[in-house]
Amino acid sequence: SIMSYNGGVVIAMKGKGCVAIAADRRLGVRGHTVAMDFQKIFEMGPHLYVGLPGLATDTITVAQRLKFRLNMYELRENRRITPKTFASVVANLLYERRFGPYFVEPVIAGIDTKTGEPYICNTDLIGCLNEPDDFVVSGTCVEQAFGMCEALWEPDLEPLDLFETISQALVNAFDRDAMSGWGAVVHVIEKDKVTVRTVKTRMD
């Protein structure tokens, strides 16, 4: 299957005045692991991140094309884009390729700097938006990730607690998937700062 060719998983969660987005670091070719430092989460603004699990070449290409549209937006409008609007840009970019899609299922996490409101959403590979209040998952171990998140998540977690929760959800989910893992990276986005941490995991 094309979506599980390279492997990978991304999760995002909402907390109290903060959001967190986390991904594994594996890049594989079917069963053969090729890299343990493959970037799947990209910064699109000081408080806006997008995770792109799926086919690795599309991960890179979609990130680059999104940056293009984002730069044009910020030059024309003379301001930073909000997470909700950015989600629409992502959905639009994907739907433009409705009948020959990019094989990525993005996860967006950010904080609207004007209101301080946290925002998460994910889309399918042809741009159907899903904006829940709790968490979003995408990748080769979604079933495991859903289970972990449903069990561990609770509303209004503080940034440090959110970090622990999302890390445990991610690591225990991808430990049950052969195609994901080999390290994890977690971004915790608060109103005034972003903390990036790499998590020590089993390297298999």
Binding site: F68, N71, L75, R76
Partner: protein, 249 residues
């Protein structure tokens, strides 16, 4: 003046001139002036705003200065509607380059690409040329800080100091006299503002009639585009002695 050869942009006159291009330049010589000065640690752009009415809403965006990409900005003189189209084109060209090469577009290539667009309107299509001249200020890792001037014909050149718009010849000769090769950013700011104030035809000078921007490198080595606020600009005009402090009576 061969009026019978005016109407089509795409043909030469018997003297070998393109009248539509020259008429476009005529339109620009009536527009607000803009001056650019290249320093060894940055590029300065100063422009005159043609503020026509007290009723004009002062929006946050600028009238004469535009950012094209993180490392390139421009000052505009001429027909604003034409300028908006070209600025958007320049922005798209810069982004397309970055998409393909994952690097910022070299300044000269950006200028050349935009000038190629402008040239197209002087050779085919039957459409009139753009009535805009630009001063591009930018930085790239190959050639450092650069200043380019381009006109409606699609011609461009790299300059150490240049002026476009109203009274540009007077401004250019003043710049020629006072420019020194190793000028610093601070001196360039002073030179640009001084020359601009002398060539503007308004008697009282203040920040409302000017725009000032510069391209420089931050301490971290990133290219920075800065536009001065009205307050900072007023302070600068006082420091340089271009305006006198208001007398207490």
């Amino acid at each position: 003046m061969s009026r019978r050869y005016d109407s089509r942009t795409t043909i030469f006159s018997p003297e070998g001139r393109l009248y539509q291009v020259e008429y476009a330049m005529e339109a620009i010589s009536n527009a607000g002036a803009a001056i650019g000065v290249l320093a060894k640690d940055g590029v300065v752009l100063a422009a005159e705003k043609r503020v026509t009415s007290k009723l004009l809403a002062t929006t946050k965006s600028t009238e004469k200065m535009y950012k094209i990409d993180d490392h390139v900005a421009c000052a505009v003189a001429g027909i604003m509607a034409d300028a908006n189209i070209l600025i958007n084109t320049a922005r798209l060209q810069a982004q397309r380059y970055t998409l393909a090469y994952q690097e910022p577009m070299p300044v000269e290539q950006l200028v050349q690409s935009l000038c190629d667009t402008k040239q197209g309107y002087t050779q085919f299509g039957g459409l009139r040329p753009f009535g805009v001249s630009f001063l591009f200020a930018g930085y790239d890792s190959n050639f450092g800080f650069q200043l380019y001037m381009s006109d409606p014909s699609g011609n461009y050149g790299g300059w150490k100091a240049a002026a476009i718009g109203a009274n540009n010849q007077a401004a250019q000769s003043m710049l020629k006299q006072d420019y020194k090769d190793d000028i610093t950013r601070e001196e360039a700011l002073q030179l640009a503002l001084k020359v601009l104030s002398k060539t503007m035809d308004s008697t009282t000078l203040s920040a409302e009639k000017l725009e000032l921007a510069e391209i420089s490198l931050s301490t971290q080595g990133e290219v920075k585009y800065k536009v001065w606020s009205a307050d900072d600009l007023n302070k600068m005009l006082l420091t340089f002695g271009i305006t006198q402090p208001v007398e207490e009576s």
